[in-house]
Amino acid sequence: MERLTKNKNLQYLNSLFISIFASLLIGALIMIANGRSPLVGYGALLTGAFGSKYNIATTFAKTVPLVITGLATAIAFRAGISNVGGEGQLYLGAFAAAYVGITFTGLPGIIGIILAIIAGALVGGAYGFVPAILKVKYKVDEVITTIMLNTVATLFTAYLVNYPFASSQGKMGGTEMVAEQFRFSRLVKLSTLNTSIFYMGIIAVVIYYLMEKTSYGYDFKIVGQNSIFSRYAGIKDKNQMVLAMVISGGLCGIAGALEVLGVHYRFLQHISPGYAFDGMLIALIVKNNPIGVVLMSIFFGALKTGSIAMENSIGIPSELVSVIQSIIILFIAGEAGFKNIYKNWKMKKTANSKVGEKIV
C-alpha cells in the first residue's frame, strides 16, 4: 500500500516540460495557420534571444524584474497568502525610489541608491501589509483586495506624475530624471542591461537562502501547507502570513525601484507592462521554487526578447508569445485535474479486482 514517490519533483518537471512542449506546439500550429514555417519562426526567436551579445543582454535585462516579482509572489504563496497585488506594490515602490532620486540630489551615489531602494521596499511592503491585515483580521479575500489595490496604485501614481510631480517638460506621464549619481550604468551598448542585475542576483540568493535554508523559510512553508498543524506546533500562523506578504510587497517595491534607477532614470506612468503579473505566473508555473523562478524568468525573458526579433525579421507578431505563455499556464493549472481524471479512469478499470483486499 505504500506508494513511495520520492521523485515527486521529477514527476512535476516532467509535466512541466510536456506542458511547455505542447504550448510551443500550439504556437507552431498558429504559425502554420498564419502561413509561416514554425522552424523559421522558432529559429528567429532563438537567435533573437541569444544570437548576439546585445540579444543576450536584452534577454537578461527583461529577466531582472521577472525574477524579483516572481520570488516575491513565491514567498507569499508559500506562506499561504496570494499576493496578486505585485503590480501596485511595484508602481508605488518605483515612485518612492524616483522621489528619493529627485529630492535628495546631494547624497553620494551609493548611499542615495541604497536609500532609494529601501524607500521602494518600505512603500511596497506597507502596501502589501494592508491586504494581509484585512485577510487575517477580517477574513477579506486577499485576491480581490490586491487586484483592486493594483489599480488604485497605478491611478495614484498617474496622478502624482501628472500633477504634483509632473516633469518640467509638461505632462508627459513621467517625473523629472533622478540625479546623475542615482543612475545605474549600462553594461552592454544599446541594451538596457544595467547593474541592477547584480542587485537582482543578491536578492535571488538571499531569498533562496531564506526560503530554502532557514527556519523562517521553514515556518512559511509549513504555514502554507497546513496552518492548523503549524498552530498546533507553536507557530503563530497569522503573523507569518502578514510577514510573508510584507516581504513580498517589499520585493515588488524593489523591482520597481530598480526599473527607475536602472532603466528609465525616472518614474513613468506606465513603467511596468505587467511585470508583476508575469512574475506571479512564473511562480505559479514552478510551484514557488526559487531556483525555478530564476530559470523560468530567463525563459520568459528570452521569449519576450526573441519574439520582438521574430517580429522584426520575419513578421510574426510578437504577441504569439503571450498566447503561448498563457497556454502553458492553462496546462500547468490543469495538471492535477488531468492526472486525477486519468487516475480515476484507471481505478475504475481495476476496481473490481480490488474488492476483498484488507483494510489498511
Binding site: M1, K8, S215, K221, A233, G234, I235, A351, G356
Partner: protein, 511 residues
C-alpha cells in the same frame, strides 16, 4: 413474518485506499426503528450513502420491497421512497424553509416561475400533517439547529420518503431537542407508518428508541439484535471490541518511586465549536510515571479537554497547572515550552503536513533551536538528517528515506512519525489522543510499547482513546468521561471492561 422493506445482500464498497464496507448484509423491516451503531470510521456513513444513491456499491445487491434496485444518484433514492436527514444539514442557509423543502422539485406556475404560495402552502400542510411546526417564510440561517433538523425531515417527507435515514441526528442537538426529536420519530412510525433508520454511536439513545439494532465495526456488520435483548455492555463490546486480543503487556512496577503531580486541572469548563458546553467541570491530576487513561464514547468532551490543555482552545473557567504554573491564556508554544508534548487525535488535520518530508515533519518544533538551526536561523541539514534517521530507526518508520513525503506513508507510519517527533522532545508530560486509530496491528504493538517505555522513564502520560482495550492495557489509572463530566475513577484492575460501560454512559450518576 415481518415484511422486509429494504434488504442489502453482500454489499461492499471499495475506495481507493480503504474497503469502507465489507460484505454487508442487512434487512430493514417495514415500520421499525432500526439503529445502526459503530465507532467513527466503522463504515456507517458509507453504508447510508449507498442507501441514498450517493455512492454506488462496488459489489452486492439492494432490494426494496423485494425488488432489486439500482441507484446512481439521490434522485433514484428519492423516487424509490428513501429519504435522508444528513448529519450536516443539506439546507441552503440563505433560502427560506419553504424554498429548501421544495428544492429540486419546485411547484411552478406557467411552467416558468416558482409558485411560492404553493410551496408555502404545501410546507404548512406537511408540517401540520406530521406535527412538525415550522414557519415556511423564515430563512434557514435564522433557525436553531433543532428547527433546521425539523426542516430537513420535512424535506425528506415532502419528497415522499417512506424510509427515513437519520445520520447522527442527535450529535448536534441539546438534550431537550433530542427528546423532541425522539417524539417526532415515534410519531412518524406510529401514525404515518414510516420506517426509520437511525445512525448513532450513543448507546443510551439506541436503547431508548430503537426496535432493533445493528452493530458495525471496521467496515463489517458485526450483528443485528432486538433492542429488548440488548444492553449497553453488550453493545459497547460489539462496537469497540477488537478481533485480535493483545498479549498482556509487561508493565514494570517500580517500587518506591516518587510520583510528583505534573498536571492539575481544577473545575475546568469549556465549550465546543458550536458554542455548546463540552466540559462541565473537570478535575484531574496527573503524576509522573503514570498513564492516566480517559475512557469514554467519542464526543463526550475528550477532544475539547485535550485542546484546552494544549492551548488550542480557550477555556471558559477553571484552572490548569503544569508543574505548579497556571497556564491560562498561554499559547500552544508557551505550553509546549512548559513541558507538554501532544499526539493529536486527527493526524492529517493537525499532526502533520503531508506535503512535507519525514524529516521536515520531525523537525517541527525544533526549527529555531540549536543544533538543528545554527543561531536559530540556518537549518543544519546534516543534524536534521541524522536525527531523522535515528528516529526512523528507533520508531521503526518504514520508509526508504527521510526525504519521502509524509503523505505517501501508510497511516501507521504517519502515526509513528508524529509519535517519534513528540516523544523525542522528552517533555515531562505527554498528551496522547487516539494513538492507534487506523493503525495496523503490528504498529499498534510497537506504539504501545513505546508509550509504556515513556512511562517507565517517568513521563506523565494522559491517554485518550476510544478503544477500551487500549485504555485497559496501558493505563495505571482510568477515569471515565460522559457528557463533559468525570463519572468515575479507578486504579488498574479495579474495574472490568464489562462494568466500565456503565460509567461511560453515565448510568451511575444523575446529571
Amino acid at each position: 413474518m415481518y415484511e422486509k422493506v429494504l434488504e442489502l445482500k453482500n454489499v461492499s464498497k471499495q475506495f481507493p485506499e480503504v474497503l469502507a464496507n465489507d460484505n454487508i448484509n442487512l434487512d430493514i423491516r417495514k415500520g421499525e426503528i432500526h439503529a445502526i451503531i459503530g465507532e467513527n470510521g466503522a463504515g456507517k456513513s458509507t453504508l447510508m450513502n449507498i442507501l441514498y444513491g450517493l455512492h454506488e456499491p462496488t459489489t452486492g445487491d439492494i432490494y426494496y420491497n423485494g425488488k432489486p434496485i439500482k441507484m446512481t444518484s439521490p434522485l433514484d433514492a428519492i423516487k424509490i421512497g428513501i429519504g435522508m436527514v444528513h448529519q450536516h444539514f443539506m439546507l441552503v442557509p440563505s433560502f427560506t424553509v419553504a424554498e429548501n423543502i421544495v428544492l429540486g422539485t419546485e411547484p411552478t406556475k406557467r411552467k416558468i416561475f416558482v409558485d411560492k404560495e404553493k410551496a408555502i402552502e404545501s410546507t404548512k400542510k406537511l408540517s401540520e400533517t406530521y406535527g412538525l411546526t415550522v414557519d415556511p417564510k423564515l430563512k434557514v440561517e435564522s433557525l436553531s439547529v433543532g428547527v433546521q433538523q425539523r426542516v430537513e425531515i420535512l424535506k425528506a417527507l415532502y419528497k415522499g420518503a417512506d424510509v427515513l435515514i437519520l445520520d447522527e441526528p442527535t450529535a448536534v442537538l441539546t438534550p431537550q431537542e433530542t427528546d423532541e426529536l425522539f417524539k417526532v420519530i415515534k410519531r412518524l412510525v406510529d401514525e404515518s407508518g414510516k420506517t426509520i433508520i437511525i445512525i448513532t454511536h450513543k448507546l443510551q439513545e439506541v436503547l431508548s428508541i430503537s426496535d432493533r439494532v445493528s452493530v458495525m465495526r471496521q467496515g463489517k456488520m458485526i450483528g443485528t439484535l432486538d433492542t429488548k435483548d440488548a444492553n449497553e455492555k453488550i453493545l459497547a463490546e460489539m462496537m469497540v471490541g477488537r478481533e485480535v486480543l493483545f498479549n498482556k503487556i509487561d508493565k514494570k512496577h517500580i517500587e518506591n518511586r516518587k510520583h510528583e503531580e505534573m498536571l492539575k486541572v481544577e473545575k475546568l469548563r469549556a465549550r465546543d465549536n458550536r458554542g455548546l458546553i463540552a466540559l462541565r467541570s473537570i478535575d484531574l491530576s496527573l503524576k509522573s510515571g503514570e498513564i492516566l487513561g480517559i475512557a469514554g464514547i467519542e464526543g463526550n468532551g475528550q477532544s475539547e479537554l485535550v485542546e484546552v490543555l494544549t492551548g488550542l482552545r480557550e477555556k471558559e473557567s477553571g484552572q490548569i497547572f503544569i508543574n505548579g504554573v497556571e497556564i491560562s491564556n498561554k499559547s500552544p508554544r508557551d505550553i509546549r515550552e512548559l513541558g507538554i508534548a501532544h499526539v493529536p487525535e486527527d493526524r492529517l488535520a493537525m499532526g502533520l503536513s503531508k506535503d512535507a518530508s519525514i524529516s521536515e515533519n520531525i523537525l517541527m518544533g525544533n526549527q529555531h533551536n540549536e543544533p538543528y538551526a545554527i543561531k536559530g536561523i540556518h537549518l543544519n541539514k546534516s543534524k536534521i538528517k541524522s536525527k531523522s534517521r535515528k528516529l526512523i530507526k528507533e520508531f521503526d518508520i518504514r520508509t526508504p528515506s527521510e526525504d519521502v513525503l509524509v503523505g505517501n506513508l501508510s497511516g501507521g507510519n504517519m502515526q509513528k512519525v508524529i509519535i517519534a517527533r513528540e516523544f523525542s522532545f522528552n517533555t515531562p508530560i505527554l498528551i496522547i489522543s487516539q494513538p492507534t486509530r487506523g493503525v495496523d496491528i503490528g504498529a499498534i504493538e510497537f506504539i504501545h510499547s513505546q508509550i509504556i517505555e515513556k512511562r517507565n522513564q517517568g513521563c506523565a502520560i494522559l491517554l485518550v482513546s476510544a478503544e477500551l482495550d487500549e485504555i485497559f492495557r496501558l493505563s495505571d489509572r482510568i477515569i471515565t468521561i460522559y457528557e463533559g463530566i468525570i463519572t468515575g475513577e479507578f486504579k488498574e484492575g479495579e474495574i472490568s471492561k464489562q462494568e466500565i460501560g456503565l460509567y461511560m454512559t453515565g448510568k451511575n450518576i444523575q446529571i
